[in-house]
Symmetry: C2
Subunit: 152 residues, 2 copies
């Protein structure tokens, strides 16, 4: 692993988020948890990674408050892993990654999984807008930085 500067004290919320969930495995585990997976063996089968690596990643996600454990129904000696509210609130991140992947990483007629509304079956989309409802792109926005004297 490359040694890196920690961003947990950074004043940019995106940087702090990446510090907490910005590795490939963490986000894939979160994706599988959204998909209903709860057991160690299910994650292992889905991700195809070594057990020791998976155990470490799951432990990190629990420590960071993104997953929580509870005894498995019927097999209480085994734990299962569930998204916390903090974890479930990563939903827009997953939707944004999915939307970008759909646009750029598939051929137009290529088979892909789809995210749909449970009740209506309609497609899910994501919009970035101002708090009064105007759609915006990156060039319509600006980052207001924290003044240096507030960020020693």
């Amino acid at each position: 692993m490359v040694k890196r500067k920690s961003l947990i004290a950074d004043t940019c919320p995106s940087a702090r988020s990446l510090d907490v969930i910005g590795d490939w495995w963490s986000l894939l585990i979160v994706r599988d948890a959204f998909d209903g997976l709860t057991r160690f063996g299910e994650f292992q089968k889905s991700l195809g990674i070594a057990k020791n690596i998976l155990a470490l990643r799951l432990r990190t996600l629990v420590d960071r408050g993104i997953l929580e454990t509870r005894p498995t129904e019927g097999t209480p000696s085994r734990e299962e892993y569930l998204l916390t509210e903090m974890g479930r609130d990563l939903f827009p991140v997953m939707v944004a990654l999915r939307q970008w992947g759909e646009r750029y990483l598939f051929e137009p007629d290529e088979k892909r999984s789809r995210l749909l509304a449970r009740d209506s079956g309609r497609r899910i989309i994501l919009e970035v807008k101002t708090e009064d409802g105007k759609l915006v792109g990156s060039s319509d926005t600006v980052i207001e930085k924290v003044p240096d004297d507030a960020n020693p």
Copy 2:
């Protein structure tokens, strides 16, 4: 680095996206590019990483179509790095990460940078909804998988 299974043939668009941009450095470089940074030295100062690592990450982002290079104005022997359309379309991912970080990784009164509309100064928000405009959370949605026979 941990050896991993490639997800570039996965039928889940989120998984493919993570395969392409799901490492910490790549997304931080993209964040800095949205913030207007273009030069090698600017990224290096912002990220505090070794030059050889940064050079490798920038090259990967160019190879994947997220950044492109052009000669720097006034110093054409030097390249600068700009987001492509594919790169700019990562904007919702950055906004989603920012929104989550604001909610969970800052104290209520802690100083943070803010993302605002350039013209009105209003705050930027992100909404996940059905294509006909109904707001949804993760529990309102379902993944429609590609049938196994279409995904050998």
